[in-house]
Amino acid sequence: MARMKFLCDADRCIECNACVTACKNENEVPWGINRRRVVTIDDGQPGERSVSMACMHCTDAPCQAVCPVNAFYTTADGVVLHSKDICIGCGYCFYACPFGAPQYPRVGNFGSRGKMDKCTFCAGGPEPDGSPAEYEKYGANRLAEGKLPLCAEMCSTKSLLAGDGEVLEEIYKARVVQRGYGSGAWGWKTAYRETVSS
């Protein structure tokens, strides 16, 4: 069984935000919610890097651990999903998440955040695969159709990769060998407690 992961090759990201747009469109993400975002570090400085970030689908996910109502579950592919029927919008997953992935439809005063929304690795939710109910709550279920997340599929420089972690690692290592440098797999140590040794 594959262990699904994201890998953003920061040496290739050109901050075009196509991944962000693709995600919003494919999943009909509500206004104000960004499941994916691009952050530029040292913007304008030599050595600046842009990284596209969403839920990293952590091993032993912190959101899943702190959730007071057990709304999260990890699929056999290592994708961390949640049930909006179980979520009570307490905000704890946002406090625990190392990547700021959980998003809420409302501001959250008096605990009125609404149901949490986050990247699903384009794998929907607990409803039957491809059902209208699933699409309405969680967006597309591309994984069930044998497709990878659209953000990575759309990436014009193939900076953002999605798929089986071992394959991603091989691709990234080959790139680093070929070009002679690589700023590493951002977030991997935090999310998976391992890095890509290049």
Binding site: T40, I41, C87, Y95, P98, G100, G187
Partner: protein
């Protein structure tokens, strides 16, 4: 001219290409460093700042933080540390109370009931007490549900039912915080004068408050133990209220770190608060004969007052005859 133009163009192009070809290696030699090679390093940033922060393009500035592994520490607190603190404080207090009750039993009115009673708390004081107390109980249970509900309650219910319960508990927790805070403020104001520490308290504490043995150290309206409860309610309630309002209005001048810290302060103080209140409930009910009436009907037996608040009884007796201004401390015959 037309015939000449084409060859000229070819020559010019050739010259341009030749210059470019010579110039290009020179340019690369001058730079010699690959500008994309020396990138910012994730590891270095994490070591230096504990977070990786950059610039984004969406209005939500929280999203400019790329990575914040600190959530892991908070997770450990929430999952492990807090549950131990809560379990030890609450179960420990219950154990102490059970042992105490079995060894000491109910503290009796030694000289028996006199049949005469004296007003101890007026209607307003009792209203404030019970409003705060009722809010506290619901706040405590709904708060404990957030920490202990998943391991203890969820296995007994359907997940949907547990969610429905937890969501209502969350709203109850958020909105009952307002009358609770009001209650704490009123308690602070209306009982402040009786709860400032005096020399009598030292002796009361030295004599163990009469809880062990059959000693009855003198006390004014509030003895040192009650003063302790008062200040725990005022300060603990204040801390819980302030940290709670930080949590209820997320990210108003707070960052994710301060939100995590607010949750830690809120939950630790609350756990200890619950433990202390268990002790308070014990002594006000089965722990002491004649104590519940003070907050129940508002009057206590004169002999109870004599044994536990002798100085207060004297003051009330003296004042009751002279000035009928304050909360009517009259001694009435009969019930």
């Amino acid at each position: 001219m037309q015939a000449l133009a084409a060859p000229l163009r070819i020559v010019l192009t050739a010259v341009f290409l030749a210059v470019a070809a010579i110039g290009y290696p020179a340019a690369t030699q001058a730079q010699s460093v690959n500008p994309t090679k020396n990138a910012v390093s994730e590891e270095q940033l994490l070591q230096q700042f504990k977070t990786v922060r950059g610039l984004g393009t969406i209005p939500d500035t929280k999203s400019y933080t790329l990575e914040q592994p600190a959530g892991r520490g908070w997770r450990h607190f929430h999952e492990v540390t807090l549950r131990w603190i809560g379990a030890i404080a609450i179960l420990g207090m219950l154990a102490v109370l059970v042992v105490f009750y079995l060894s000491r039993g109910m503290v009796r009115i030694e000289s028996g009931r006199s049949g005469r009673s004296i007003v101890r708390f007026n209607a307003f004081e009792r209203f404030v007490h019970w409003m705060t107390a009722l809010c506290f109980v619901i706040l405590a249970l709904s708060g404990l549900n957030i920490t202990f509900g998943r391991p203890l309650l969820l296995p007994l219910m359907r997940p949907e039912s547990f969610t429905a319960f937890s969501e209502w508990a969350k709203y109850a927790h958020n909105f009952l915080s307002f009358p609770f805070t009001l209650g704490v403020v009123l308690i602070f104001l209306m009982w402040l004068s009786g709860n400032l520490p005096t020399r009598v308290d030292v002796e009361w504490l030295k004599r163990g408050g009469g809880m062990i043995g059959h000693d009855q150290p003198p006390a004014h309206r509030f003895n040192a133990g009650q003063k302790l409860v008062y200040w725990i309610v005022v300060l603990g309630g204040g801390a819980v209220a302030v940290s709670g309002y930080v949590l209820i209005f997320p990210f108003y001048g707070t960052t994710i770190e301060t939100m995590q810290q607010a949750e830690m302060v809120h939950s630790i103080v609350a756990m200890l608060f619950i433990a202390v209140m268990l002790g308070h409930i014990y002594i006000g009910t089965i722990g002491m004969e004649g104590a519940f009436e003070a907050m129940g009907s508002g009057t206590v037996d004169v002999n109870w007052a004599k044994e536990h608040h002798s100085l207060w009884l004297e003051e009330e007796g003296a004042r009751g005859r002279t000035g009928p201004s304050q909360p009517q401390p009259t001694i009435v015959a009969g019930q």
